[in-house]
């Protein structure tokens, strides 16, 4: 019998069933210490494609001087974290003490570079390293909701059991995790599991001749089979539609992406990214463009997600939400500032900031860069032996 990585894992039973806890003591089944978390953990990145105005991470740097910031349109959450009201109002009261601003001094003012490099740490795909380290019992370890790639079109190679899976339809995803309504001509999950295994086995020839162009097929079989091996998790599309004010099942628009993010968190996915476009707001000197965009598109779905998933499941899960973008907007013209801060909300986060800029939107020279952000997320997720290294923002964790 040909020894394959997937066959080895299957033989050891590492993928079977639903483990209630996820921490594995000592060396793992693969002979290496596995980073794991003490509770179901998910990191949800909300990526504002084009940039994130610093009024959402440290607004008080510009009071009465820039971006239309006044003392009446900002809220101090505590610990020096001051944000625009459009964002503050989206954060439930119960979470306001669990918000931090994390500085990232990356030196990048180019969109393509920023969108690529923000997701790489030590030469690897940081989201997949994180998802693999979180582990957990979700079949899909890392998901992009409403798309098939990271920002800038990146589709990284898998890391361990974590490959990037696109979630573009709620019903199709729910059918995969829960099964469709039974009917004579409707597929059953068990049969589909066996059938997809056979399909996978029948695909060797094609996959071996086109390993790059069909990589997503190879990874897709693995994730689909893992999904079908899990016990049924009943979800209802209508429940999500009602909660997020949706109509239909396509993951289109930010509200649908938040709904899909909730679905994936509930299935045990360790890393989810939801991207929203149109944030390259040149000329937005008074900040109105970003305020309007935030209040019209982002605020309500974000609030729903934070209420239902982060605050609502505080005792059961550790869900970390990080809001960031390519870079901050510079002054005077809201152009490209080669640094940023991420606003992070979660159970293990406490009020504090390493991301407060000066009035010129600059961060102190000793502010950590991209690696520091992922190191922080690893610590917030309470990874054993974090693959990213020590957290350079210890003051931001409870």
């Amino acid at each position: 019998m040909r020894l394959t990585r997937r066959g080895f894992i299957k033989a050891l039973g590492a993928g079977a069933g639903a483990l209630a806890g996820t921490r594995l003591a000592g060396p793992g089944l693969l002979g290496r210490a596995l980073a794991a978390t003490p509770e179901p953990t998910s990191v949800v990145v909300i990526w504002l494609n084009g940039g994130i105005n610093a009024i959402f991470t440290g607004a008080d740097a510009f009071t009465n001087t820039a971006f239309g910031v006044t003392s009446s349109n900002i809220t101090a959450l505590g610990g020096g974290v001051v944000v625009d009201n459009t964002l503050a109002n989206a954060i439930p009261q119960g979470l306001r003490s669990r918000v931090a601003s994390v500085g990232i001094r990356h030196g990048i003012a180019d969109h393509g570079q920023a969108q690529s490099r923000m997701f790489v740490s030590n030469g690897q795909s940081a989201p997949l390293v994180l998802a693999n380290a979180i582990g957990g019992n979700g079949a899909i370890k890392a998901a992009v909701v409403g798309g098939n790639s990271l920002p800038n079109g990146a589709r990284p190679q898998p890391v361990g059991s974590a490959s990037l899976q696109g979630i573009t339809d709620m019903k199709a995803t729910i059918d995969a995790v829960a099964g469709a309504t039974p009917a004579p001509n409707t597929v059953d999950r068990e049969g589909a599991l066996h059938g997809l295994r056979a399909a996978d086995a029948m695909s060797d020839s094609a996959l071996s001749k086109s390993p790059k162009s069909l990589a997503s097929v190879d990874q897709g079989y693995e994730a689909a089979i893992a999904t079908l091996q899990k016990p049924v998790q009943p979800f209802n599309v209508q429940e999500f539609n009602n909660a997020y004010g949706l109509n239909g099942t396509a993951v289109r628009g930010f509200a649908a992406k938040m709904a899909a993010a909730e679905l994936m968190v509930r299935t045990g996915t360790g890393f989810v990214i939801a991207e929203d476009g149109g944030w390259d707001t040149h000329g937005d000197r008074n900040g109105n463009t970003v305020r309007n965009a935030f209040s019209q598109r982002i605020a309500n779905p974000l609030r729903t997600f934070l209420t239902r998933v982060v605050e609502g499941e505080l005792n059961e899960r550790n869900v970390i939400v990080a809001i960031l973008g390519d870079f901050h907007r510079s002054l005077p013209g809201s152009d490209h500032q080669a640094n940023l801060a991420a606003l992070v909300i979660g159970k293990r986060i406490k009020n504090g900031t390493t991301g407060k800029t000066d009035a010129r939107v600059s961060l102190p020279p000793n502010t950590p860069s991209i690696d520091g952000f992922w190191q922080f997320l690893g610590a917030a997720a309470r990874l054993d032996n974090s693959p990213f290294g020590a957290n350079p923002h210890p003051s931001l964790l409870a």
Partner: protein, 322 residues
């Protein structure tokens, strides 16, 4: 059965063996025919899905020479729509915020529908504008404009890629023009956040190569485009000043039109056309061992500068089908 004379048996045996060696059995011949039929059917389906995104017709699946259908596919509205979308995704990082910002889509479609040379994308006398001037988000149209330069002088495109250089230099536009015509791709250098990104700052060692010294030196190319001026919600564009500049490795250029003329008359333009053809038909750029087929594409494209000729050369090449 009549008995064979003993004296002939060894010879008959030899002949029988010889016949068996030299002639395939009927079963093998049938299998070879089946393989050949499968091969052309796969070729037909590969061509059809690559060109128009749908299965080959039954006639094409049964055709002995499916690649001859390439010319018909090139006139198919499904191909024109699909290829126009493809070009838009190749020439821009993201979809435009308004239809007019997707000027490349509209002009590609126009060029294909009207069987124009591919150079018209970049040099043609056109303007891509919202169909309703009062509604910037209305569907866009291609209008004749004697001052047009492909889509490069369409306002929505110019504003989209106006850039934010402190002195108004259109460095982003310079890069985009070279990217779209000759496939130039550059990787931005990381700076310290407070680095000087002005013209003086771009003199720094890590910046000069891209901006000042290479044949594609962005600042030098941008000099012939003129400058942007005014706030982002009311950008104006001024013509270049200062006379001709020596750029692109020693070519004298005075303005955007001369720049584009120089770009599209260079070998690099022909190479990029075939690279686009490969990416459309193969989903990737050409590999090293596909060099000869790529060369045939470049030769075909040079004859009439039609992108259809490049695509046809690749699609009809024996290497396209297994």
């Amino acid at each position: 059965m009549r008995s064979v004379p003993k004296s002939l048996l060894p010879i008959a045996g030899i002949v029988a063996v010889t016949i068996a060696v030299l002639s395939p059995s009927r079963a093998t011949a049938d299998a070879n025919d089946e393989d050949a039929a499968d091969r052309v059917a796969r070729c037909a389906n590969r061509l059809s899905i690559a060109m128009v995104g749908e299965t080959a017709s039954p006639d094409l699946l049964a055709s002995r020479a499916p690649q001859t259908a390439t010319d018909a596919f090139l006139r198919d509205p499904r191909f024109i729509e699909r290829f126009s979308r493809f070009i838009n995704s190749q020439f821009n990082m993201t979809p435009g915020m308004t239809p007019a910002e997707d000027a490349t889509y509209y002009l590609a479609k126009y060029v294909l529908e009207n069987d124009k040379p591919w150079t018209e994308m970049f040099l043609g006398p056109y303007d891509i504008v919202p169909s309703n001037p009062q509604q910037p988000a209305s569907e866009a149209v291609v209008r004749p404009d004697p001052n047009g330069l492909g889509y490069f002088r369409s306002r929505a495109w110019m504003v989209r890629y106006a850039g934010n250089e402190p002195e108004g230099m259109r460095i982003v536009a310079a890069y985009r023009i070279m990217w779209n015509t000759i496939g130039l791709t550059l990787t931005a250098t990381t700076n310290a956040p407070d680095a000087d990104v002005s013209a003086a700052g771009r003199q720094a060692t890590q910046c000069r190569g891209c901006h000042l010294e290479s044949w594609f030196a962005l600042d030098k190319v941008a000099e012939v485009l003129g400058k942007r001026r005014g706030p982002d919600d009311d950008i104006q564009f001024d013509p270049p000043t200062g006379g001709p500049k020596q750029i692109l490795g020693g070519i004298s250029v005075s303005n955007d039109k001369e720049l584009v003329e120089a770009l599209v008359s260079n070998e690099a333009f022909d190479v990029n056309a075939c690279r686009l053809a490969y990416k459309y038909l193969y989903g990737r750029t050409e590999y090293s061992c596909e060099g000869p087929a790529f060369d045939r594409c470049v030769a075909a494209f040079k004859k009439d500068k039609r992108i259809q000729s490049a695509i046809a050369a690749v699609a009809k090449d024996p290497t396209f089908c297994e």
